[in-house]
């Protein structure tokens, strides 16, 4: 967090400014840091969080449109994975092209526990998260010893090795053609697959929407709490200045392994939800392109911010669905099976083009992402208000 904004939108003073020697300024600065480290930075963000909770239950219960429901659930599922990658890249400063591998680990754990063994919702959800986290913690020590190119290539290798293993483990994964897997959504007496409120019974799509976004809420809460805690602050400190952090007593190795483990756990959770949504899983889904789409999400949303990955995931994951739905209105688009000559974008290519351009243009023009743009706009509005004699 390089620049933090106080609730009034005023940039917090830089930590090493000369004013900091003034005891009054110092206590004010400490108060600002306390504020920064609070779970909810102001009453407004607490209210926003509550509104968010109400919305994730109210929205799916007020519509039966399958397109909106699938749009929402997909956004939520990818948001969980993006929150994980954001912790690794934004907070820990490590890069991973292997995020899809952890998603695959979670997905196949969910298949084994939820579909083949037939265990209930909490069990397969937690199992996928735990196995994802364990694999993350196992990979972490090797990945964090490496930097730059080496780290990229190691994590890229995970995808290829993972695809090889999953493709050849035929009895379990169904080989390259994949396998269908039904996951039970019953949570104690409440079955999310057929939710009953009063006289109305809701469908699977609505239950999945609620489940996915509850997972988003829990992931946000967990990551935010981790960052506030001592190990979490160690993760940030190690990113900013590894040697200084270690001298100050922050364990560099353990914090990086922690980051990999949490990131892997959230990816695993996303994988389990993905299986629940598609009722089908194939090794080919978890390819480099999936890893890249997670990267696009966090860059578009805003690396290192709380809400950035959620915003990015919702926007970016909606692109393929939107294109499919509105294909007839998009110029130059042609069917996936059209092999005739001449220039024309197939649906799959349109997605690639959109993802690639978003990634390139955001890095080039606004690498801090939409969360930063939004905060700056809000800050500007806030400043305009404080020009009148206000509460401050």
């Amino acid at each position: 967090m390089t620049t933090s904004l106080t609730p009034a939108g005023r940039p917090a003073a830089a930590g090493n400014s000369p004013e900091d020697t003034d005891p009054d300024r110092q206590s004010e600065r400490i108060a600002e840091v306390r504020q920064e480290m609070r779970l909810f930075r102001s009453r407004w963000s607490l209210l926003a969080a509550l509104a968010f909770l109400v919305a994730i239950v109210a929205i799916p219960l007020s519509t039966a449109d399958p397109f909106l429901l699938s749009l929402g659930a997909t956004g939520g599922i990818y948001a969980v994975g993006a929150i994980g990658l954001n912790l690794l890249m934004g907070s820990a400063g490590q890069i991973s092209l292997g995020h899809a591998f952890f998603v695959a680990v979670g997905a196949y754990t969910a298949v084994a526990v939820g579909s083949l063994a037939g265990l209930p919702l909490p069990v397969w959800l937690l199992a996928a998260t735990a196995v994802g986290g364990i694999v993350g913690a196992l990979v972490g020590p090797f990945a964090f010893r490496l930097k730059g190119l080496y780290q990229i290539v190691l994590t890229l290798g995970l995808i290829y090795v993972g695809q090889y293993v999953f493709t050849n483990w035929q009895s379990f994964t169904g080989g390259p053609n994949g396998t269908s897997a039904e996951l039970p959504l019953a949570l104690g007496p409440v079955d999310l697959a057929a939710l009953r409120i009063g006289p109305i019974t809701y469908g699977y799509a609505q239950g999945l929407f609620i489940l996915a976004w509850l997972c988003v809420a829990v992931s946000l809460l967990v990551v935010r709490n981790v960052i506030r805690s001592r190990p979490g602050r160690a993760i940030l400190a190690v990113r900013d200045a590894e040697l200084a952090a270690e001298v100050a007593g922050a364990p560099a190795k353990r914090s990086k392994v922690n980051a990999f483990a949490i990131s892997g756990a959230l990816a695993g959770l996303a994988g389990a939800l993905l299986v629940a949504q598609l009722s089908y899983v194939a090794p080919g889904q978890f390819n480099l392109q999936m890893s890249i789409s997670f990267l696009v999400m966090i860059i578009v949303g805003g690396v290192g911010t709380t809400w950035g990955p959620v915003i990015g995931a919702v926007l970016v994951s909606s692109i393929p669905l939107m294109i499919k739905k509105y294909s007839e209105y998009i110029p130059l688009l042609k069917s996936d099976f059209d092999t005739a000559g001449g220039f024309g974008l197939r649906e799959a290519q349109f997605n690639l083009l959109a993802y690639g351009l978003l990634l390139f243009l955001f890095v080039l023009i606004e690498p801090r992402g939409l969360a930063y743009v939004g905060r700056r706009l809000a800050g500007r509005l806030g400043r305009r208000q404080t020009q009148h004699p206000g509460p401050r």
């Binding site: 090795v161 050849n168 860059i299 005739a340 993802y355 690639g356």
Partner: protein, 301 residues
């Protein structure tokens, strides 16, 4: 025995191509200090441009290659000048040193989408001068294509070696890599150095892509950019620092991949041969993170 020799020749041919692609990555790292994946697009776009120049416009094979190399080199130099360099200078926020890599991944994705949009998803074949002819040496039949690939690659690699080790621009390149400030103070123009590096990367990438596409039963396909990723283990094995390392890493992986394709039992499953390099590389990184030839670590992404 004859199978072994046959596999060895095609393994060396594959290895030379992997070495060329690895070299195109290495030379840009050397000159700019930053790992960039954009060269992967040269392999793909280059091969398609060669196809277009040769088959659609009817140019001779060699001229088609020159056109494709020139186009890729210009593209690389322009992007370096107007996109990547600004990113280094601004040191962009939270993603910092990863900015260039992420932008390059974006461009690689765009190039793949455009290639399919322009030339379609089907395999196209280049009229390469080698065709399917084979040369018989005893009981071993070697395709002319493999011989051409090995000879052209070795000539190119030797030329690059001389360029880096013996010429003024090569010295300037190495000076910039080891200390950009001091090199500048000596009057070395970093723009010239990185432009030459991008041009070299274009030559290596386009030729590697084109020669990949002349493989027997192969052709120009939209998945050619996977070749660029396949060359990354070679880069790591070689230690990412030296040309000799790239060649050794490339040939080692080429042989390994071809032998596993030829000898691995069916029980090892589909895709074993293409996964072997990655498994070997992961094991190597776990045991010896600096690569077989132990060059210094590249600190910046």
């Amino acid at each position: 025995m004859s199978t072994f020799l046959q596999l060895t020749v095609s393994g060396v041919a594959l290895g030379c191509l992997l070495a060329l692609v690895a070299l195109s990555f290495m030379i840009v790292i050397k000159a700019t200090g930053v790992f960039n994946l954009l060269q992967g697009a040269f392999v793909l776009v280059g091969a398609y441009l060669v196809y277009n120049a040769q088959v659609t416009w009817g140019l001779p094979f060699v001229v088609a290659i020159i056109v494709a190399v020139a186009a890729c080199a210009v593209l690389g130099i322009l992007l370096d000048r107007f996109a990547f360099r600004g990113m280094t200078r601004r040191g962009t926020g939270e993603i910092g040193v990863l900015a260039i890599l992420l932008a390059a991944i974006g461009l690689l994705t765009v190039s793949q989408a455009l290639v399919v949009s322009i030339w379609g998803p089907l395999t196209l074949s280049i009229n390469d001068p080698w065709g399917l002819d084979t040369v018989r040496i005893g009981s071993v039949a070697i395709t002319q294509r493999d011989i051409a690939v090995i000879v052209i690659s070795l000539v190119l690699l030797a030329a690059f070696y001389l360029l880096i080790q013996r010429t003024r621009i090569g010295v300037a390149m190495r000076a910039t890599a080891s200390d950009p400030e001091a090199a500048r103070a000596q009057g070395i123009n970093p723009t010239v150095v990185s432009s030459v590096a991008w041009a070299c990367a274009a030559v290596a990438g386009v030729l590697a892509g084109t020669m990949f596409a002349t493989e027997v039963g192969g052709g120009v396909v939209p998945t050619l950019d996977q070749v660029a990723f396949a060359a990354l283990p070679a880069l790591i094995l070689g230690g990412a620092g030296s040309l000799v390392g790239c060649v050794a890493g490339g040939v080692l992986l080429g042989l390994l991949q071809t032998y596993s394709a030829g000898y691995a039992p069916d029980a090892f499953g589909a895709g074993f041969a293409t996964t072997v390099p990655w498994i070997l590389m992961i094991l190597l990184l776990v045991v010896k993170p600096t690569g077989l030839f132990g060059a210094r670590e590249i600190r910046r992404a």
